[in-house]
Amino acid sequence: MSVRGAFGELANRDQLWPFLMPARGARVDVSKQVLLYIEDLSVSFDGFKAINNLNLYINDGELRCLIGANGAGKTTLMDIITGKTHPDTGAVYFGQNIDLLGRSEAEIAELGIGRKFQKPTVFEAQTVYANLELSMRAEKGIMASLGSRLTGEKRDRIDQVLATIGLSDERALAAGALSHGQKQWLEIGMLLIADPRLLLVDEPVAGMTAQETERTAELLTSLAGERTVVVVEHDMEFVRSIARTVTVLHQGSVLAEGTMEQVQNDPKVIEVYLGDEH
């Protein structure tokens, strides 16, 4: 590169400090149609095996439902994928090429893995609007945020999401003042606006009314295809309405996998999870 070129690049406001910029991850290689590989994964806490030799593959563009008894390890699995928890053994790959283990939460998020938490967590002191702005897909580096402006395009996008999650009227309200269900929606909104490749959604409809549940189902179904969605839910009606493939976890490993139909009639699943009613 010529000296002038190098200088020009340095003088470019958005590029001023290249070493401050987070390295944008390499492109995900999904040539084998599989987006997420989880192999021989185990983790234990104080001797308690929360994930036990788990193997799981999620295809690109799939909508996968993950069910399983309370304490089966579903949330822990998401913790591991998103870098919050470090497993004892095993491998987690994003596509063919990206090893997720050992990466920080932020790096993983940058790779395009978004997450909604079981207990809604939003930035309580900031407005609903700011929550969405912060979550928007953009450069997350220091210089980028110092110079960031809300372009019309970005604003339109936020408005659009606000409408989707039904919080247009609450846009200026501090997120901490929302009701439980509203926070759930806001968090879904934060996930949407981040435009991730893989969405990990932990119990999205808890505390929602039937209609809201339906809307959520529609939303998630519409996302699949372009993106990959993994949903954890205990609401069987909801699962039924969206599921193509269902994986049942039990005591940290896969107990069953298949269509809703198959899983529903699996006696083991009925015993440990569904109960005799279903």
Partner: protein, 231 residues
């Protein structure tokens, strides 16, 4: 046995409850329903004395509780399972249960065995930290903890959030059992119609901080649902 009249409540400047009236009969299972944000949790918190009411009266068993402290409720026999469970995260499961002994309603100051019968998972996890439990386990712990009080009235705020289906059913059964066998009065906030219909005997529909419809569960018509619960 619980009666609220013309209750108003404000968060700072925003009024949430508007002249709300509510009657809960002894021995009933009342299901409070309404969209997100209509004030169900707020109502329960007022009931529990965790939020002070701006005006209106609240009587429990004929006694005026509108100005009494939150601590007086469990002593009067009211157990509470809050939304979001509010487990003490750093206490063990056993310690979580023991906290409820403070109200002094458990004879001998011991945790009643029946709680472990109802929720066997708690017995297995006695020495684990409450905060480490999975969401559903925490929910069971929260209900168990309220039951340690040996309450006359059990108040549950969306108890099925995040619970696996067979346990949801079990919780339903527990509520029914407690109601029928011990005559426990139950107040339940619930969004899921199926569960509400199965467990509730009475319903109250809320809209914007008011009770807008009430009656026995059998009267909960599709029309009402469409009007007050649909988005």
């Amino acid at each position: 046995m619980i009666s609220l009249q013309k209750v108003n409540q404000l968060y700072g400047g925003t009024q949430i409850l508007w002249d709300l009236d509510l009657e809960i009969a002894r021995g009933s299972v009342t299901c409070i329903m309404g969209r997100n944000g209509v004030g169900k949790t707020t109502l329960l918190k007022c009931l529990m004395g965790l939020l002070s009411i701006a005006s209106g009266s609240l009587t429990i068993n004929g006694e005026d509780f509108s100005r009494r402290s939150a601590e007086s409720r469990p002593r009067a026999g009211i157990g509470y399972v809050p939304q979001g469970r509010d487990i003490f995260p750093l206490l063990t499961v056993e310690e979580n249960l023991r906290t409820a002994l403070a109200a002094g309603r458990s004879p001998g100051g011991v945790i009643p065995e029946k709680i472990y019968d109802l929720f066997p998972v708690l017995k297995d996890m006695l020495q684990r930290r409450g905060g480490d439990l999975s969401g559903g386990q925490q929910q069971q712990l929260a209900i168990g903890r309220a039951l340690v009080l040996q309450p006359e009235v059990l108040i549950l705020d969306e108890p099925n959030e995040g619970i696996q289906p067979n346990i949801v059913k079990q919780i339903g059964d527990v509520i029914t059992q407690l109601n029928q066998e011990e005559g426990m009065t139950v107040v339940l906030v619930e969004q899921k119609l199926g569960f509400a219909r199965r467990v509730g005997r009475e319903f109250r529909l809320m809209e914007k901080g008011r009770v807008v419809a009430s009656g026995p569960m059998t009267d909960l018509s599709d029309d009402l649902i469409a009007r007050h619960l649909a988005v």
